[in-house]
Assembly symmetry: C2
Homo-oligomer: 514 residues x 2
């Protein structure tokens, strides 16, 4: 069945889109974070200079490979690089010079202007988990992800107050052919949510489909003049830029759409086993990648990224929420700020198989470091489980709840007269209590961050309620959210045009499952 | 009883203690943390000055109460304060001036010199949970704590590599009379561990017993010249210093032993509902408390403390690991550094009833803020559950494992030639991998922090092993540790003298259970 057929069949009865518009309820979303607190500067000037100098040495002496990409090689040759086969050696300073045309911040528009985000500067935009082929929930356990799961995660993201972005591949809809699923995924982001989203990068043609669908959603002219997608371009570390990812980057850059240019590194495997060595390689890779984006189109918006985990040298398993990953995240943040570029990293990381204590520790470690390291775009901020193999329903709402703490921390500490509370201290005096005083009455509603998931009940009340752990509490919340979901309003003609595009594209090619 | 008499009596016997000495196995303990990374300075100069000025205003205009303590009032009057009944109003600047004789750092000796800690400066000493009347483990659930539990937690603390301190009331041994349990607790710390520990504060006479027992353990002269206990003196916020706590403080100060002078604050109840207001009150309280310690004995070692939680304004329940508590922790750290005093806060905080995801998030939030806020002495670093009502066996080893990440983070990022890894990057080149390269072989053993609890297995192996969550994995670890425990060597005569002191003291008074 195609999406178009469904639309046609329902049009007579009033139409789902129109019904959605009539009953539209807008769920509250917090504005993206503007930090009012300092970043933690982990490396000193000398260390940063060593890393930057070594990165340039890598580019000049070792170089990077642009695989299967004669166009890229030609651009590099023209720019003054030394091209030898697929190896591109970039003279010291050239890549950095080319990066200068990349904007230090940019706006990614959402179809609902209230959800539009500014990426860069002191801002932090939070986006959900990306990429898992499996899902997990308390009732159904671990299983392959389907399109229904995908739509559910988009709905949860839309309803999550502290999540600014709908993300991209919130899970892999494995029941849809590989060459068609990007169409359904984009359609879901565009119609089930009104937050900004990411485009497809699994083939340059799918990146083009993403641009085409955005032109339907936003209008052709608007897309050419504004950024409406921020997509994830992974570098094949070490030092390799493959044609699929670069092909997608080229589509996005030519269309003025943003790319996150992000090495994908398991430390000790795709980069040296040391933090400084990894930082050096990351720096070389993003310098080359961002420079290339600017060769494709000067001024194309980019984000300097890093996806870095450690490795458990016993088992070879990747590890998450570790101190070394945090050190690298802090370091790349400093390097990005020195480049004057927006910075992407990851939060909500864990290697755990369940949303248990391990998941809590590792995710909180990642979320805290993301805030303190000056990240501008945090991918995987909620829902990530089992090293990225699993999108967890419960962990999605647990993490999304914790994202509220980042907002509060980032706001800093007010010291105005009301915050100083000297009248309250005078009123209460030694030995009194503040519960009933005027200052408390006036301020208590907004004074403290409040969880929507965690349990603060007294033991007896908690035990009577079933002695539920966090996963069980989150499971209830997931069910309630999905039951309460209401689709955001969308112009029926636009929705129909998008559905038609998807149907036509799907009809134009045979199914592929790998 | 004197040290000498005890020695003489025990010299003849063979005894368990000598057997323990013969079979002694020493478990590895990491040296206390010396930070090689910056602190996060959350407040700017202007905000800090407002808080400091307001704190002095509180002391001058509102004052503090020293309850049931004519001696303290006399000392304050003599020092130039305005004493009116139990109210002590301290002229602007006086408390701060008095605080100047407190040392900026001090050494707390352990009976094993390798475990001696330096408290202050850029150091961080980690100590376990303090105070819970209940314990919890996976098999036995939640129950009143007993002396056996207490001994078990001392054993676990002794065996925990990343824990520097044996702590104090690791749980309340509720099966021992209230007026005698401090003796058994101290005996356990002194004989089952060789790490530094805390003294009793529940009655001045019990503080004196603590000093007496230390004189047996360390020698009378040594105790008078060195600090061998760091004990927890809570201020009865707001602005009240009760006679029990102050009586204990007086005993410790006179004997050159360290006190943590720490307001106990549930924000919105014992302090204003705002962060800046709470910081102001904390500052006033510790200024008064530390000044008083210096009136008792100039140069007495102290730690500026803060125990701060928020409150859930719906239920009135205290909350842990929240952003407001973190903001206060960062702020007090800055105030302490400006005073030139060691700083105590708390890690491992959670309101959860189980060592589940909530416990993980909240504890990791607390541990991270403790490191980044410049804490010198972190109490409750492991084992805390249910808002401090419960010492959790599993959470003890889970948290203690996470403390390893603080060590690694604090070490900073080396950028020496080996860390730069340029040879490795040259050797591997674009498209290669680092698993087998020389640099990885030479460095992998120490490159990454390694957990002793968390699970990194592939899903299938984990499922085959019973699909255990973190609590279940930790439970196995607890059992193994307690089974593997070996008592550290102790001079049999000393152990016997301590036992004799405890027996004699217990025999000298009737049991009291409240």
């Amino acid at each position: 069945m195609s999406e178009q057929a469904v639309r046609r069949r329902t049009r007579g009865g009033g139409g789902a889109a129109r019904r959605a518009e009539r009953s539209a309820v807008s769920f509250e979303t917090a504005r993206f974070i503007e930090r009012n607190i300092p970043n933690l500067e982990m490396l000193n000037e000398e260390a940063l200079e060593i890393i930057e100098t070594n990165a340039e040495t890598i580019l000049q002496e070792i170089g990077v490979n642009f695989v299967n990409n004669p166009g890229a090689l030609a651009l590099w040759r023209e720019a003054g690089a030394d091209v030898d086969g697929e190896r591109v050696r970039i003279p010291r300073g050239l890549a950095r010079e080319l990066c200068k045309t990349a904007p230090s911040s940019f706006t990614q528009h959402a179809r609902n202007p209230e959800r539009t985000v500014a990426i860069g500067g002191r801002n932090l935009v939070l986006a959900p988990v990306y990429g898992p082929p499996f899902v997990h929930d308390a009732k159904g356990g671990r299983r392959y992800a389907t399109m229904e799961d995908f739509r559910n995660f988009v709905k949860l993201g839309y309803m999550s107050k502290w999540l600014h972005h709908s993300g991209g591949t919130v899970c892999e809809p494995t029941d849809i052919p590989v060459n068609k699923r990007h169409l359904d995924m984009l359609y879901a982001h565009m119609t089930l949510s009104d937050k900004p989203f990411m485009g497809s990068v699994t083939e340059p043609s799918r990146a083009q489909d993403s641009v085409d669908m955005c032109e339907i959603l936003f209008g052709k002219e608007f897309v050419q003049q504004n950024t409406v997608m921020t997509s994830l371009i992974n570098i094949n570390s070490p030092l390799t830029f493959d044609d699929v990812m670069m092909g997608s980057l080229e589509v996005y850059a030519r269309n003025n759409q943003a790319s996150i240019i992000s090495p994908f590194i398991v430390g000790g495997a795709m980069a040296p086993v040391s933090v400084a060595g990894t930082l050096t390689q990351v720096m070389a890779e993003v310098l080359a990648g961002i420079a290339y984006s600017q060769l494709v189109r000067k001024g194309a918006p980019v984000i300097m990224g890093a996806f870095v985990t450690s490795i458990d040298m016993n088992s070879g398993a990747p590890t998450f929420g570790t101190p070394e990953a945090a050190q690298i995240t802090y370091g790349v943040g400093q390097l990005a700020r020195r480049m004057g570029l927006p910075y992407r990293s990851s939060g909500g990381f864990t290697g755990s198989k369940l949303p248990d204590a391990q998941a809590g520790y590792e995710s909180a470690n990642s979320l805290n470091m993301g805030l303190m390291s000056g990240v501008n775009f945090m991918l995987h901020a909620c829902g990530w489980l089992e090293g990225g193999l699993v999108s967890s329903y419960e962990k999605f709402v647990m993490d999304a709840d914790q994202l509220g703490t980042l907002h509060k921390m980032a706001a800093g500490i007010p010291v105005d007269e009301n915050a100083q509370a000297m009248d309250a201290i005078r009123e209460v005096g030694p030995g009194g209590h503040y519960l009933g005083c005027a200052h408390t009455q006036e301020n208590f509603k907004t004074a403290f961050w409040r969880t929507g998931v965690l349990d603060y009940k007294p033991y007896e009340a908690w035990a009577e309620d079933g002695a539920r752990d966090t996963m069980a509490l989150a499971s209830v919340k997931v069910e309630k959210m999905l039951a309460d979901y209401v689709q955001p309003a969308i112009d029926p003609a636009t929705a129909e045009a998008l559905a038609a595009y998807v149907a036509q594209k799907k009809a134009s090619m045979p199914d592929a499952f790998s």
